[in-house]
């Protein structure tokens, strides 16, 4: 039986998350202390060496991202807790169970890039997490562990697109959460035009252990190109709907059958969607891929946020994809043409297919629209939105064809 390996969740269920002394007793804030005795550039190079890659979905080397930050009087560390991908609840779990690991990670990042102000952008769906975090920040301030580093929590208003880093920045600035074009990247010109590092909760929560145990230790865990662990959330037709943290060389099959306890009701697996609602639909025949960024990408899929959404043999793929199309139609910010209009038309056509009113022309239209959107949209939302459609058209085309002209 393979076991979880807990780095970011190392304290989960072991300490009282409401109580900072529990965290300190478990060795908390030691890493920050250590980091403070290091030169910022040494921290950056350590993180670079650890090959910690962004856990929000883009998979960019965190240390490298930090190294692009130019000199500036004001810089910001922004933590992305706008976990909006359906099927994903890992960041909530991390923060719920151990908020100080995140705070410590942010402070380390702050020291590394020379910033003394951090923001946590928490999605509007988690008002209780905002309170939980504010409580933790207040305790940390009282203890003085954060030193000069100040952290403020901002709550989103219910917009999936704000998970995109520049939309998130716009939202913190009090604007409509519309993504900016890049370049300039936030690292150069971000929040209030100042250099800003935006990292996902899980990325930042890895930092204390990396500083404590060193880059070498971390880079030896899991897959060689995407080392460490990945926190995964299991949902759908799976026995154990749980949050787990496993080394990145764990396969999808292991995740579903070892940790997830297999398919509910003893049914067979039809498909698994990994990485959130824009992720690819992976047929049962292809689940021996390890859940590391590159292996997934090489197979034509995405790791994304690490959501594992399982569908059993009875599920109607077209119906689920139709629902997903509605999600994107609802969440498109409307700024760029191909996404605003494309997500709307995708949903229209999916509805038509799902209701048995479509012809094969409609499949061609979907394919064309998806192809253009994935290349021409302004931000990741629009580029990824056709993913489920395109991958199911590839792997589950028969399910579409079965629904054509049924009425």
């Amino acid at each position: 039986m393979i076991k979880e390996m807990r780095i970011v969740l190392r304290n989960a269920d072991k300490i009282d998350p409401q109580n900072i002394s529990d965290y300190i007793a478990a060795g908390g804030y030691k890493a920050l202390e250590k980091a403070r005795n290091m030169k910022p550039e040494d921290i950056i190079s350590e993180v670079k060496k650890s090959n910690l890659r962004g856990r929000g979905g883009a998979g960019f080397n965190a240390g490298l991202k930090w190294s692009f930050v130019p000199q500036s009087e004001t810089k910001y560390v922004v933590c992305n807790l706008d976990e909006g991908e359906p099927g994903t609840y890992k960041d909530r779990t991390i923060v719920e169970k151990d908020p100080h690991t995140l705070l410590e990670g942010m402070a380390i990042c702050g020291h590394a890039i020379g910033s003394n102000k951090g923001f946590i952008y928490c999605r509007g769906e988690y008002p209780y997490i905002v309170e939980h975090l504010n409580h933790a920040i207040a305790q940390a301030k009282e203890e003085g562990v954060l030193g000069e580093f100040d952290i403020e929590v901002r709550m989103g208003g219910g917009a999936y697109v704000c998970g995109e880093e520049t939309a998130l920045i716009e939202s913190i600035e009090g604007h409509r959460g519309e993504p900016r074009f890049k370049p300039p990247f936030p690292g150069v010109e971000g929040l209030w035009q100042k250099p800003t590092v935006v990292n996902n909760v899980e990325t930042l929560a890895n930092l204390p252990e990396i500083i404590t145990r060193g880059a070498e230790w971390y880079s030896s865990i899991g897959s060689s190109t995407y080392p460490g662990t990945k926190v995964l959330t299991l949902s759908g037709d799976i026995v154990n709907k749980i949050c787990i943290e496993v080394p990145t060389d764990t396969t999808i099959r292991e995740v579903i059958y070892e940790f997830g306890g297999g398919i509910r009701g003893g049914k067979k697996l039809k498909a698994v969607q990994i990485g959130g609602t824009s992720g690819a639909f992976i047929p049962a025949s292809m689940i021996d891929i390890p859940i590391d960024f590159d292996s997934m990408r090489n197979a034509g899929f995405t790791l994304g946020t690490g959501a594992v959404f399982v569908m059993d043999e009875t599920r109607d793929i077209v119906d689920v994809v139709t629902r997903i199309a509605k999600f994107f139609e609802h969440e498109s910010c409307g700024k760029c043409n191909p996404c605003r209009e494309g997500t709307f038309r995708c949903y229209e056509i999916m509805k038509k297919i799902n209701q048995g009113r479509a012809s094969s022309d409609d499949l061609e239209k979907l394919q064309l629209l998806g192809r253009v959107m994935s290349k021409a949209c302004l931000c990741g939302l629009g580029q990824a939105a056709p993913g489920p459609i395109l991958t199911t058209l590839q792997h589950f085309r028969h399910e579409y064809e079965r629904k054509l002209f049924l009425s």
Partner: protein
Amino acid sequence: MANIKDIIARFSEKPGGLIEAYHALQKKYNYIPAEAIKEAAKIFGVSEAQAYGVATFYSYLSVKPRGKYIIRICESAPCHIAGADEVIKAFESELGIKTGETTPDGKFTFELTECVGQCQGSVVVTINGRPYLDVTPEKVPAILAEYS
């Protein structure tokens, strides 16, 4: 009005605090009243059109009056396959309203939402932000009874 002004003014020193102010207003009024938009524009130095544009961008913000309790049901894919449609029907028939509507007594507003990040317990319903997990049509009357 004085109250609205006070609530917004609490955030006036916060750069970009407009959305925070909206959240605070909604906590009290369950929506953002028209005069609050104008006041917020003034305090945060943005145009009224922009303040309105922000308020209408986010799903959780509303410029229309809503009920005392806002029931939201997730219908993203995990909840969808777990039977969200049936739960929606159950709420609609219990409340006597459709999604997007408010009960005549102003008590409940029923809205659809996308994933609220509790997929370990789909179907998920939230009432004023508090999550209810593994909701089935059968559980609906009991949940509503908590608010009677």
